[in-house]
């Protein structure tokens, strides 16, 4: 979605410079929430303050909202259609595969050292085997990152 946003904001609308949009993406990525929504709020606020952000968020969420509602209203009537149920089974299996592939690709980019592997493994085990809330996993990741940087800093200072 980011390349599409970049193109719309820079090339089509001339709202921001290349540098500004890069700042916007990096901030949107380090805040929680839906990435596209964060970017929309940022761009909207820069252009037209609060009204701008509200308009941009409506724009980026409405298609998702309306399409799901449309499918659910439609599905209500064809719920026990065997073709639809079969299609769901197929898409579910493909989704599991595509998400696994996404984890793999993201892992290749992010898991660069022992610490990263450790955090990812603990997170996975905590959720899958211990049923620990994903909220604690995020808190743990953040604290581990902070602790690691403190430790590196101290080690660097001692040398």
């Amino acid at each position: 979605m980011l390349p599409l946003i970049r193109k719309a904001v820079i090339e089509e609308k001339n709202w921001m410079t290349e540098e500004e949009i890069t700042d916007c993406f990096s901030i949107a990525q380090s805040l929680p929430g839906v990435l596209a929504v964060n970017v929309a709020i940022y761009v909207g606020a820069k252009k037209k303050a609060l009204i701008g952000s509200v308009a941009a968020v409506l724009g980026v969420t409405l298609p998702a909202f309306v399409s799901i509602l449309a499918v659910l209203l439609f599905l209500g009537r064809i719920e026990d259609n065997l073709y639809v149920l079969g299609a769901f089974e197929g898409v579910k299996a493909a989704s599991a595969a595509l998400i696994l592939f996404a984890a793999w690709k993201m892992g290749q980019q992010i898991l660069k050292g022992k610490l990263e592997y450790f955090i990812a493994a603990v997170s996975f085990i905590a959720v899958v085997f211990a049923g620990i809330s994903a909220i604690w996993v995020i808190v743990f990741g953040g604290l581990a990152g902070l602790a690691a940087s403190r430790w590196q800093h101290r080690k660097g200072g001692a040398e």
């Binding site: 769901f88 579910k92 493909a94 595969a97 998400i99 993201m106």
Partner: protein, 190 residues
């Protein structure tokens, strides 16, 4: 608590604690709907499948789906507002003191730890989905060995492996793969 307030708070919490993109949000969405008894695991995997074939961010798709099933169109709106509101508050707050945020070493360090945690969460999402699609129960179960023929759903499993190979080795388009899987499912699995 009214269903609307309930949905709003559940999805506000999801919006506030999700990092690393839509897939990384899935475990928290799954845990939340189980905790509040809003939806079954089977329904959850259907919601993920539907999000794959509809436009827009997964979290918004999920909020709409869960909200509608629990409390109709107003419920869908309450959940969607809930999941986007934390973004509003945080992005607007950061814009007020943007310099400090960008220069913050602590923030960079925290994100360095959160990113690998998100990778672990995405992998966990795969396990949650597998339990209601390619298998008939938990992934880590002895039945996978003792009762494999009954436990593994053969055709979904074949689609799963085929998708992995086509996406990984042949770089096939994910949307095309999803559509093809749906067509195969409609024609063969039913």
């Amino acid at each position: 608590m009214t269903p609307f307030a309930n949905l709003f708070l559940i999805f506000f919490r999801i919006g506030l604690f999700s990092f690393g993109g839509g897939y990384a949000m899935l475990p928290l969405i799954f845990q939340s709907i189980q905790e509040f008894g809003i939806m079954t695991a089977a329904e959850f995997s259907r919601l993920v499948a539907l999000s794959q074939v509809t436009p827009g961010p997964i979290a918004v798709n999920a909020a709409t789906y869960v909200g509608y099933n629990y409390a109709g169109v107003t419920g869908a709106a309450a959940a969607t507002v809930g999941v986007t509101l934390p973004s509003f508050l945080l992005v607007l707050a950061v814009l007020q003191f943007i310099r400090k945020f960008e220069e913050s070493k602590a923030m960079t360090a925290v994100m360095k730890g959160i990113r690998p945690a998100a990778v672990g969460l995405i992998a966990a999402a795969v396990i949650m989905l597998a339990e209601t699609s390619i298998l008939d129960g938990p992934v880590f179960s002895v039945r996978l060995i003792t009762d494999a023929a009954e436990y593994i759903n053969l055709l979904p499993c074949a689609i799963f492996l085929g998708t992995i190979i086509l996406a990984g080795k042949f770089k096939a388009d994910p949307i095309l793969l999803t559509v093809v899987a749906g067509v195969i499912g409609a024609l063969v699995i039913r």
